[in-house]
């Protein structure tokens, strides 16, 4: 949940990148880290296994400048995507302000995408949240691969509510900042709504 500090005039928000194993959540953060001005970012932390699979989370603090005299900071987290790390995913979702669902566009990963969306809904519900009322965007990653599924079919299956969604190729950065911008915008609008 966001933290508004009038003393240091800072707003801190938490965004979580969710999705099935190997869909590109960590790659999104790595690209953001590599392309962000050093003054605007903190150290990126990856708690990963020896084979570089996310074990607990990746973390990237990002400052996006000032809004109405308040420094706006976003803390980006990824969850471990592999099915058996569900307990860790629940912990990381706690206090979330916005969620990015990263889908793997490969046809053979469609079932894993669907399973992960269902898992996200369940885990949000456990803390009294639901996707419909949470700042939420969808990213269709790996669009460059030859076995990418039909985009309309992916939208129909993974984004029936029609939230903001983006095609991406996170390894080269396509769609990465568009996705981040959309979720940050949604989080800030949500805060505005809550303050009203």
């Amino acid at each position: 949940m966001s933290f508004i500090n009038y003393s240091s005039r800072e707003i801190n928000c938490k965004i979580v990148y969710y999705g099935p194993g190997l869909c590109g959540k960590t790659t999104n953060l790595q690209y953001i880290y590599s392309k962000t001005n050093p003054e605007l970012k903190g150290k990126m932390i990856s708690l990963a296994t020896e084979t570089e699979r996310t074990l607990f989370f990746d973390f990237l603090p990002l400052a996006l400048g000032q809004i109405r005299g308040f420094k706006t900071r976003f803390h980006l987290y990824t969850v471990p995507g592999q099915v058996f790390y569900d307990a860790s995913r629940k912990l990381i979702l706690k206090g979330v302000d916005g969620v990015v669902f990263v889908a793997d566009s490969q046809v053979e990963r469609m079932e894993a995408n669907l399973e992960s969306v269902e898992n996200l809904k369940l885990n949000l519900a456990e803390q009294g949240m639901e996707i419909a009322s949470t700042p939420y965007v969808v990213q269709y990653n790996k669009r460059d691969l030859p076995n990418a599924a039909d985009l309309d079919e992916m939208k129909r299956l993974l984004n029936p509510a029609g939230v903001a969604d983006f095609e991406a190729c996170a390894t080269v950065g396509k769609g990465v900042f568009e996705t981040l911008k959309a979720v940050a915008r949604s989080v800030l609008h949500d805060l505005k709504h809550m303050s009203g």
Binding site: S7, F59, I67, G128, F177, K192
Partner: protein
């Protein structure tokens, strides 16, 4: 609202700072950090300059979250006190009011017993302060300044993305 948003004003910050600055002296600690359970740094005191406090806050929250998960597995509500012993420095982590994490870093100028004793008192004081902060958050801004978000526009948001 699914969780309580934390809104801290200058007067709250000064109260927190006073408690942890005193704790640094009373416990002979090297550094003290107060972290929100969601991983946001709230305040720090002591001589640990140059530490990456953002990472420290995030990892502390992760540590508390992971051991909290373990606690539930074995039928406990939480493990509210953690102690990590290093070769030079040690870490004493306490969960206060189920919401705030108090991190004390100390070396051989102090002892675990002393830190435990002093943290107990400071933790109770911090619990009171945060109870007030949460009450204030629920009541709205007492200073009448309004939320910084009340007048936000799409342009304000777009201007953030001049990366």
């Amino acid at each position: 609202m699914h969780d309580t948003q934390l809104v801290m004003y200058d007067e709250d910050y000064r109260k927190i700072l006073a408690v942890i600055q005193r704790l640094v002296r009373d416990a002979n600690a090297k550094g003290i950090f107060v972290v929100d359970r969601n991983g946001q740094l709230i305040g720090e005191a002591g001589e640990m300059r140059g530490v990456d406090t953002t990472s420290l806050a995030s990892l502390t929250a992760g540590c508390i979250a992971a051991t909290g998960g373990l606690a539930k597995l074995v039928g406990e509500d939480d493990f509210p006190v953690h102690f990590h012993q290093g070769q030079r420095d040690n870490l004493h982590i306490t969960l206060v009011s189920n919401r705030i994490i108090l991190v004390v870093i100390f070396d051989d100028r102090s002892s675990l017993g002393l830190v435990r004793l002093r943290v107990k008192k400071a933790g109770a004081e911090l619990a009171k302060i945060f109870e007030e902060i949460l009450k204030k958050t629920e009541r709205g801004n007492p200073q009448g300044g309004g939320s910084p978000f009340a007048e936000i526009t799409d342009d304000d948001i777009d201007n953030l993305f001049s990366l």
